[in-house]
């Protein structure tokens, strides 16, 4: 198909011309997915640290549950969030449906289990290593948790990246709760879905290429961070 070549040149043109519509979409994509990942990290790390460190009855059931939730289909999340934010739903009074906030909520729900589950593993592994030493030193719990999170920060950054990857790439949830409204809730993935449904495959693919570029630059930024901190020595 000639669409491939066309897509590449189109992607190039879009970037070079700094298409205002495109930059708006990119900005919204980043804003939604980064906010979702930040919120999900706060919640997910809380859950991950709690489940990773504290032994309580039903703990392994929760771990299995969290692991299963990692495979939550975006559409299902979108549907659940739609039903809660819909004016007929319990949180309709917030008037959040079809806003970027609703998309952030949906992606947060989608990403939180991933961050909780992966960070639980990371923190638990480190905790097993540090446990006796911390006990011996008499490290107070708060300080111990802080130390675990800090010492695992590079692994946890990778965990957050995994969450970001899922958030920025999903379309099923944001299209339902955001509505793919032009200038308001249109992000990269919903724009790609739209162009595909219009049969403009070249433009859709061009947007896809740009999405890959964005994901790449976010990942590159983070690995630069890690390199600068000569993390290998600290890992």
């Amino acid at each position: 198909m000639q669409d491939f070549g066309q897509a590449f040149s189109l992607a190039f043109q879009l970037i070079v011309s700094a298409d205002p519509m495109l930059s708006e979409i990119i900005f919204l994509s980043l804003r939604v997915s980064l906010s979702a990942v930040i919120i999900a990290s706060v919640i997910g790390l809380g859950i991950g640290a709690t489940v990773g460190i504290v032994r309580f009855p039903g703990r392994s059931a929760i771990i299995v549950f969290l692991n299963a939730l990692m495979g939550l289909p975006p559409v299902v999340v979108g549907l659940l969030v739609y039903m809660s934010l819909s004016h007929a739903g319990p949180f309709g009074w917030l008037h959040l449906l079809y806003t970027p906030t609703a998309m952030i909520v949906a992606q947060t729900v989608l990403v939180t289990p991933i961050i909780a589950s992966l960070s639980r593993q990371v923190i638990e592994d480190l905790y097993i290593e540090y446990r006796e030493q911390f006990l011996s030193l008499g490290v107070p719990p708060k300080m111990a948790v802080a130390a675990l999170l800090w010492d695992a920060r590079y692994s946890l950054l990778t965990v957050a990246l995994a969450g970001f990857g899922r958030a920025i790439a999903e379309v099923g949830a944001v299209i339902i709760v955001g509505g793919n409204i032009k200038h308001v809730t249109r992000v990269m993935t919903t724009a790609i879905a739209l162009e595909t449904s219009k049969g403009d495959l070249a433009l859709a693919l061009a947007l896809g290429l740009i999405l890959i570029l964005i994901a790449l630059s976010v990942n590159a930024t983070v690995s630069l961070l890690r390199l600068n901190a000569s993390n290998s020595a600290y890992a």
Binding site: W93, T101, P141, K182
Partner: protein
């Protein structure tokens, strides 16, 4: 080891809440907008991009279009998640108003459905004047046909046509009848990929970019008529909705300016919709 779990959670919750409020604040700044629940075929035709900026320029009201299948649009509107409904499934629309969910239904415009297929037309339906006959021929030769299969207006129209053709495609159980379960554009992509026939509205077809060698084979049958209606969601059911702004939009759309803009919207010189609001022009 004991962890100060509750403190940790309080901190988490507070932080998320702060972020959430901050972000929702940004998005709520603009208040003069309405949500228009509409269909993918209308959105994909490009009509909204052509006419809505004019409405905004005139009134300052932003119309935010959510495009889903007619079935879902009706459901969303019933949930109060929209102020105005613009769809094309007249019986369902009338039922919606009768049930009290909508205030009143207005005809806005029409276009028509067409049957499209590969240019070489293996079944030989090109030029038939009757959609029913064409579908019957497709069934008899067991040529591939892709259906929307998503309870959309187009899907409902297609089922009505099969009834006219006296064929129940689901009963016949052949592998020739495929349900895409997707929007119009996605269904067209599927049909082109499978070299199958399909039914589409003219608007989507004209603006569709992945036509390959596909062309319109059957058109002009009065049965293929596709009427669009606009409804204001009933504020009595959903007090939060913006009835005033919504009514302003409807008045504009069925009034002279909206109607002439609809008539003036063309792709490659071809009009996509024909205004027929009672009060317009």
């Amino acid at each position: 080891m004991r962890i100060p779990t509750s403190r940790l959670w309080c901190a988490c919750a507070a932080l998320s809440l702060m972020l959430g409020l901050l972000l929702s604040g940004i998005s709520q700044a603009e208040e003069r907008f309405i949500i228009l629940q509409s269909t993918t075929s209308t959105r994909n035709s490009g009509l909204f991009d052509a006419i809505l900026p004019r409405f905004r320029a005139k009134t300052g009201i932003e119309v935010r279009v959510v495009a889903v299948g007619t079935g879902q649009a009706l459901k969303n509107a019933r949930n109060g998640d929209g102020d105005v409904l613009l769809v094309h499934a007249k019986p369902e629309e009338e039922a919606f108003v009768t049930a009290g969910w909508g205030v009143k239904r207005f005809d806005v415009m029409y276009n028509d459905f067409v049957i499209v297929g590969p240019a070489n037309d293996p079944v030989g339906i090109a030029g038939l004047r009757q959609a029913g006959t064409a579908l019957r021929k497709i069934f008899q030769t067991q040529a591939a046909f892709v259906s929307r299969g998503d309870e959309s207006g187009t899907h409902k129209k297609e089922r009505a046509l099969w009834e006219i053709a006296a064929v129940d495609p689901l009963e016949t159980g052949g592998r020739w009848y495929r349900e895409a379960g997707a929007g119009m554009g996605a269904t067209l992509n599927t049909a082109v990929g499978m070299r199958a026939y399909t039914l589409t509205d003219r608007g989507t077809w004209l603006s569709f970019r992945n036509k390959a060698d596909y062309t319109i084979l059957v058109e002009g049958d009065p049965q293929l008529f596709n009427q669009y209606g606009v409804i204001l969601v009933n504020p009595a059911k959903h007090p939060h909705m913006k009835a005033g702004l919504g009514q302003q939009f409807i008045d504009w759309l069925v009034g002279p300016e909206g109607q002439s803009l609809i008539a003036g919207y063309t792709i490659a010189g071809q009009p996509l919709f024909f205004p027929n609001a009672p009060g317009g022009e």
